[in-house]
Amino acid sequence: MSEKSKPRVAIFDFASCEGCELQIANIEEEIIDLVNLVEVVSFREVMKEHSDDYDIAIIEGSIVRPMDVESLKVIRKNAKILIALGACACIGGVNRLRNRFTKEELFNEVYGKTGFGDNPLFDVLDETKPVDGIVPVDYYIPGCPIDRNEFKRVILALCEGKKPELPGYPVCVECKKNENVCVFEKGQFCLGPVTRAGCDAICPSHGNSCEGCRGLIYEPSNECVKEVLSRYGLDYEEMTRRRNMFNCCGREDQ
């Protein structure tokens, strides 16, 4: 591929831990292949250079402040393709947990009497939103953090002019293939049955339960949920609490 035809990629972050960007930086030996494939023009976490001339924008983080909304809109305008990177950008993630509080409650809780007055750096939206709550998103790379292989797959597909696709089935499929003892059978709660696969069931395969960080793909009926919870002696509050960690929708979910 000639230098000229390489897509120009810019990586941006909003409210997040930047762990997903770290996953990109950690591609290690294949990073050479990545930079052969694309030209990275902006990536604050690993480089000083910056350019506003890019084809693909990759966004990490959820949108928390009015000023972020404006920056995001500019990025959307500049980019031909916009990708949401990680749980915060794709579904709001843990940042959305704050949506159960009003702006005032939140300020009071975090900053107390000090306050920050009119400083726009500390101004927040009424609700924390995922990237697609503000601008249209073309592709998603879910997870907390993202799966490096999935990131590579998506980037490669785009470079080859293809539409990247995410698995349309839940984590259970990968978990069963990995021959794990079901987390429910161990008496714990797991979001694997309703969470989008693509992580190779990494948490259940290492003795933990699925937290739903890749987003829910299926909303089971109440009847089904009740049946499952009672069969395994688990309670509804526990389930809601676990689901809300990454998939909190708003105040009604408290």
């Binding site: 591929m1 591609i27 294949e30 292949d33 990545l34 052969n36 494939l37 590579k152 797959r153 980037i155 490669l156 597909a157 470079c159 080859e160 002019g161 293809k162 539409k163 349309g168 089935y169 839940p170 259970c172 499929v173 069963k176 293939k177 990995n178 021959e179 794990n180 003892v181 079901c182 429910f184 059978e185 161990k186 694997g192 049955p193 309703v194 299926y218 089971p220 009926s221 009847e223 089904c224 049946e227 499952v228 069969r231 395994y232």
Partner: protein, 641 residues
């Protein structure tokens, strides 16, 4: 031939196997309080007292992830099949799992034998073991799979202090001779009696009973298609697919290409898929067949109890109970579902009887390695469709029937089933018309003459031209349906064949004048005296020129008189919605169902009736179709959904 080994000798036998570097020794071992099949590091790893393993030993023949070939995109066409394989010994397979392997053997080896499966099956030695402990959810005794008389190379019966070994094959005998030469003694009548008593006693350990024998499942399901139970249970289903993953008799799969980040080296991977999953039937254009939860939920049980029994004459359930254990809302056990249907027979509604369409039994080899072919010509037909002339690089005549399809392969992107659009010519080349709808067809549209593609096939059942001979032929095409139809139409109108067929009428409907395919060829047809051509478009947008009719394709029927309906065959190919209306017109005309031919589209992924994606109730579009007589599919509820 029966032998006995004391416990110490048996351990030595296993150690001997483990020290044989030509063998990979796998067996049942413990994992987190449950059991799995896995690599044994020592004889003490092996457990013969397991109730059931988390997933069945099918993984050794159809691995969860199997590299079927490796490609290199830096070359025009480079693919290598994977052939790493060491001999394998599998220790501790329970009788019901042996029964399941015998079933998959039938599916994967009898007809369109799968190369990868055959290779792995050939190098594997099955050392079965009689059941000591019974899983709570298993109903193997009710299925008659709690003990076996065949299907193993060696059968172990662990009697505590000693292990009785029954030789089931030459492979088994050789293994025993090589690795237990001085350890195995001839079994005494007392040993054999004890082993038999143990097998007899297993049956009593099963608590779960079938209220409707497995032989009666076909009949039960033929009367239960519309039973309310399906909806009730599907309402609780999480669609997680676990039941199909852990099932020893489920064998559907998907195929994916994975290219490394260097954008050149990659592999084509086969992986387990399940009919319960939402995207299972999704085709390139994004359309999903069998879309409802209830329909997918029901399909799994119909495969187990009706579709596979009708095709292979065995029940596709061995009663291991793994699905019941894995299913969180506990709605997956065939025992409970069929018992439920039986008890609530009075609520039964909706019949589902069909006969499997007859196809030529071709015992040919089948694998996923495409043959190299070259694009000779590319012609743009419309904004969406391009015609490709493709020739096989081996230069041999590419023989096919009108109506058959091929799998077009582009490494790094995948495969797609495409109908052949040209008449059989006896040459090594043929034509395809490709509509740009998904990743593969997009890539295809970017190809130029001289580029290489992979071709597998031809697949499926095309038109039986001998049955059309002497008949008047009414062709009804909607949209891209003209593509497979063109193969037959051109064959019939070829000077060498023309006098074997009667009058030819073509009704062809398109969306707009821009979408009409093969306009030049159709204009030529219109000039022929023995051909009647009628065209219509749904709408003619402003600024477009159109001389034909406007309206749906059925509006053409009153324009032509069918003089001899008794001796007319109709060939109907179009989008799903079209069939319902056209079939009604044909009925009015008096054209019998067995003289109406349709060609159906589904997700034909493998082409050999294995992967399961193209199934319409009990028939495979890739095997019995894509061409069917209406008579053959009219009782299949999923055919024209």
């Amino acid at each position: 031939m029966e032998f006995v080994l004391d416990k110490k000798s048996f351990a030595r036998f296993v150690e001997n196997l483990l020290s044989d570097e030509s063998l990979d020794v796998e067996g049942v071992k413990e994992k987190d309080g449950k059991f799995v099949f896995g690599h044994l590091d020592s004889a003490s790893d092996l457990r013969l007292d397991h109730d059931v393993t988390l997933i069945p030993p099918k993984k050794y023949f159809l691995p969860q992830y199997e590299t079927i070939l490796r490609y290199d995109l830096s070359k025009p066409f480079s693919a290598k099949a994977e052939k790493e394989q060491k001999g394998k010994v599998l220790l501790g397979i329970h009788p019901y799992d042996v029964a399941a392997i015998e079933q998959t053997d039938r599916v994967y080896l009898d007809d369109y034998a799968d190369e990868g499966y055959r290779r792995r099956r050939d190098i594997t030695i099955i050392v079965a073991s009689d059941i000591l402990d019974v899983s709570d959810r298993s109903f193997a005794a009710a299925m008659g799979t709690h003990r076996i008389y065949s299907g193993y190379d060696l059968l172990l019966t662990d009697l505590g202090g000693r292990v009785v070994v029954v030789v089931g094959s030459k492979k088994g005998k050789l293994l025993l001779e090589k690795h237990a030469a001085n350890l195995a003694k001839a079994a005494s009548p007392a040993d054999l009696g004890a082993a038999d008593a143990l097998r007899d006693s297993v049956e009593e350990k099963y608590a779960r009973v079938l209220k409707v024998k497995k032989e009666k499942w076909v009949e039960l399901l033929e009367h239960s298609y519309g039973h309310p139970l399906w909806g009730e249970l599907a309402g609780k289903c999480m669609q997680c697919g676990s039941c199909t993953m852990v099932c020893p008799t489920c064998y559907c799969y998907d195929i994916l290409d994975e290219t490394a980040l260097d954008a050149t080296k990659g592999k084509r991977v086969r992986t387990w898929d399940g009919c319960l999953l939402q995207d299972f039937t999704k085709v390139g254009s994004g359309e999903v067949f069998r879309e409802g939860n209830t329909e997918r939920f029901r399909h799994r049980f119909y495969r187990k109890g009706l579709y596979i029994p009708k095709r292979y004459h065995f029940t596709a359930c061995v009663g291991c109970g793994r699905c019941a254990t894995a299913c969180l809302p506990d709605i997956a056990s065939p025992l409970e579902v069929f018992n439920g249907l039986h008890e609530r027979r009075s609520e039964s509604a909706g019949g589902m009887a069909y006969a499997l369409p007859e196809t030529e039994k071709k015992k040919k080899r089948f694998d996923h390695m495409p043959a190299c072919a070259t694009i000779e010509k590319v012609e743009k037909l419309t904004g969406m469709e391009k015609l490709f002339e493709i020739s096989m690089d081996d230069g041999d005549a590419f023989e096919y029937d009108p109506g058959q399809f091929v799998e077009v392969s582009l490494f790094g992107t995948g495969e797609a089933p495409i109908s052949i659009s040209s008449p059989p010519s006896g040459k090594s080349s043929f034509e395809l018309v490709v509509r740009q709808v998904g990743n593969l067809t997009n890539k295809m549209h970017a190809l130029k003459p001289g580029d290489k593609v992979g071709i597998r096939g031809p697949f499926g059942r095309g038109f039986d031209v001998s049955k059309l001979e002497g008949k008047d032929l009414l062709f009804v095409a909607g949209g891209i349906g003209i593509v497979p139809m063109r193969s037959l139409l051109a064959y019939v109108l070829d000077d060498r064949n023309r006098d074997r067929f009667g009058r030819v009428i073509l009704f062809y409907g398109s969306k707009t004048p821009k979408d009409v395919l093969f306009m030049d060829e159709i204009r030529e047809l219109e000039k022929k005296r023995d051909v009647t051509v009628k065209l219509t478009v749904d709408r003619c947008d402003e600024g477009q020129c159109w001389i034909g009719c406007t309206g749906v394709v059925t509006s053409l029927f009153p324009q032509v008189e069918i003089t001899d309906a008794e001796n007319t065959a109709a060939i109907v190919i179009g989008p799903p919605i079209m069939y319902k209306f056209v079939l009604k017109c044909l009925e009015t005309l008096g054209i019998a169902d067995e003289r109406i031919y349709v060609s159906l589209e589904r997700r034909m992924k493998c082409g050999g009736g294995k992967c399961g994606h193209c199934q319409i109730n009990g028939v495979y579009v890739c095997r019995e179709g894509p061409v069917f007589t209406y008579d053959e599919v009219k009782t299949l509820p999923e055919a024209f959904e």
